[in-house]
């Protein structure tokens, strides 16, 4: 699941892809996306990534804002979409290993040769993809939890934090490291819990 890198380089140039993140408010029955929460969580996670990776002999490269993520024919855009599809397959096959039996004992996921487009554009050796979803209970949900707790001894589930991070070798297209995170605590709208979440996500990050 967490293979180590075999690399001869001293300093590794890692391209940090735009974080795919959504933070919602969990009402009694409806999940409401919150743009303000999402934006502050994005800032915290982004700076936590910076802080924690910079200590690992890694040079972080930001994606160029001028490369439009809305250009259909742009290879970078298509690569981001391809990675999303591969990463969700990894998550599914990790949680439900019987679904893809031939992946049970080997971690051999790749984006193929198309990944070299990123290497050429940014002169980077690796690309780091991050995905985060979280939800926080609304005031109504918290109150409802207290009421049902008092009446029946059960409370509705709070929001669940899920995420994954993935490191792609831009020479071969191989996904060389992948880690996912599922937990029920940690408020990503705050700097400290966001830092903890990133720490968990980067567990076993190759160095």
């Amino acid at each position: 699941m967490n293979p180590t890198l075999v690399r001869g380089d001293d300093v590794h140039r890692v391209l940090v892809m735009p974080i795919d993140i959504e933070i919602s408010e969990l009402g009694l029955g409806v999940k409401e996306p919150r743009a303000d929460w999402t934006r502050s969580a994005e800032v915290h996670i982004s700076s936590a990534l910076q802080d924690q990776l910079i200590n690992r002999n890694i040079e972080l490269i930001e994606t160029d804002e001028s490369i439009s993520l809305e250009d259909r024919d742009n290879q970078v855009v298509q690569l981001i979409k391809l990675h999303e599809a591969v990463a969700s397959s990894i998550v599914v096959s990790t949680r439900l290993p019987d679904l893809l039996p031939n992946k049970r004992n080997s971690f051999d996921w790749t984006l193929g040769q198309s990944a070299t487009a990123l290497r050429e554009d940014y002169d980077a050796q690796y690309a780091l993809f991050t995905f985060v979803r979280d939800a926080h209970s609304s005031a109504e949900r918290v109150v409802a939890g207290i009421v049902t707790g008092l009446l029946f001894g059960v409370t509705p589930q709070g929001g669940q934090q899920i995420g994954y991070a993935s490191l792609v070798d831009l020479e071969s297209g191989q996904i060389v490291w992948f880690n996912s995170l599922v937990r029920g605590t940690g408020d990503l709208r705050e700097a400290q819990p966001a830092n903890e979440a990133v720490q968990l996500l980067l567990t076993d990050f190759p160095s």
């Binding site: 959504e22 029955g29 303000d36 809305e70 109504e140 009421v147």
Partner: protein
């Protein structure tokens, strides 16, 4: 399901929803005077051109996720990027949206079904299945106006808040009844919420229809064309039903979230006729529309065949052939042949052969594949000489076709080939 029916609107209220947009103009009632400036009087008063909601609002959250969705649509593989077609549809949308032109972005996507949609942030999607079925610019304008109506009335936000309120009420009800054996009632309420959660409500669709009529007629498009869309959609749908099912209510898909098409057709025909009487220089725009659609039509029709709703596409092709000014009847006859050939009901081979022969003699240009299909059908009918002749014509026209070798092999076996499929 019971709970769902409780949300239905009475018929008097339905009429008011359609007419609302038209009467909102204040002094002007339907059928009298001139139409002008419907946008200014009908849009929500706090919705200005260039509107962008604050991040900490519910609307801001909806925009955040739909902005992301829009990036996906923009880079989607099935988006039609042809600059000419996009410029044409955008121009129509812009003329209809007027000062809101900059707030509406149109994406044409290749999906073989009749639909169009509007996201809360102004992203409009138009499906190729609608473009194939629209007959003129006025019908395009009707649907685009309808979608603009959803935006100007913030229907997505209204819908989201409605669902949230209902689900909160349902959850509270569930909590209060869970301990006393009414869990079943709670689950019914839950079904009601999800049953409505697909898209806009039927009442919002009625309001948007009224808005469609208003905007299209203000832009000078013949408002009678709106009802024609529904008339033909009903005919197409009815072709897929057995005799005893006709006129029964439709379920699922498009009809799950939209008012019954009979209702829309009747109301729109009535209102469209009243509006049409207000002037006599209405634009229909058939030639300009066809000019833009024709370069894409073959692909759209191929997509429809893949859906395998042969009865529906046959009915639609017949309606298209009956239209005055059809520029390429030969192509439509070819697709009729393909639908019969692929449907494979009793007598369909004969009908397919007849359609292909018609295609070859009709005005316009039949695709060279007509010969190949004709050869296949004649071969299956045991008419070897005709099959050989048709295949030969195909190979003459397309000597380098990727299936040329296969066709040559088939021709070798023709004289004595038993008809295994009959």
């Amino acid at each position: 399901m019971l709970a769902l029916s409780a949300c239905q609107t009475s018929s008097a209220n339905k009429q008011a929803l359609y007419e609302g947009p038209l009467q909102q103009q204040g002094t002007v009632s339907v059928g009298e005077g001139s139409l002008s400036d419907g946008i200014a009087t009908y849009r929500l008063s706090d919705l200005q051109p260039g509107h962008r909601p604050a991040d900490n609002t519910t609307e801001g959250g909806l925009w955040y996720v739909t902005d992301k969705a829009e990036r996906r649509v923009r880079t989607a593989g099935n988006r039609i990027t042809d600059p000419a077609l996009n410029a044409y549809v955008e121009r129509v949308a812009c003329d209809l949206a007027r000062e809101f032109c900059g707030d509406i972005r149109v994406y044409i996507v290749r999906v073989p079904a009749f639909n169009a949609s509007m996201a809360p942030n102004g992203m409009m999607q138009i499906w190729s299945g609608f473009l194939l079925r629209a007959e003129n610019e006025a019908q395009l304008a009707a649907v685009v106006s309808h979608e603009i109506g959803h935006y100007l009335r913030r229907h997505s936000l209204e819908r989201f808040e409605d669902i949230r309120a209902k689900s909160n009420a349902a959850a509270v009800f569930g909590i209060l009844t869970a301990g006393i054996g009414f869990g079943f009632v709670g689950s019914l309420a839950q079904i009601a919420i999800y049953g409505e959660a697909f898209a806009f409500s039927r009442d919002q669709e009625r309001e948007a229809d009224g808005y469609g009529l208003l905007l299209m007629s203000e832009a000078g498009y013949d408002p009678r064309e709106y009802a024609v869309i529904w008339d033909k959609l009903i005919r197409e749908f009815d072709a897929t039903l057995d005799e005893d099912e006709k006129g029964s209510s439709r379920h699922g898909g498009f009809f799950a979230t939209h008012p019954q098409p009979e209702e829309r057709q009747a109301v729109l025909r009535d209102l469209g006729a009243k509006l049409a009487a207000t002037r006599d220089d209405w634009v229909v725009g058939r030639a300009s529309y066809l000019e833009q659609i024709l370069p894409h039509r073959t692909g759209f029709l191929e997509d429809e065949l893949k859906v395998q709703h042969y009865d529906a596409i046959l009915a639609r092709l017949d309606m298209m052939l009956a239209q005055a000014g059809e520029p390429n009847p030969a192509e439509l006859h070819f697709f009729r042949g393909e639908a019969y050939r692929l449907r494979r009901e009793d007598g369909d081979r004969e009908k397919a052969a007849e359609a292909y022969e018609t295609a070859l003699s009709a005005a316009g240009t039949a695709p060279t594949e007509t010969y190949r299909s004709l050869g296949l059908v004649y071969g299956a009918l045991g008419e070897d000489a005709r099959a050989t002749h048709a295949f030969r014509r195909y190979l003459e026209a397309r000597p380098d076709a990727s299936d040329a070798g296969l066709i040559r092999e088939m021709m070798k076996g023709l004289p004595s080939r038993p008809d295994v499929t009959s």
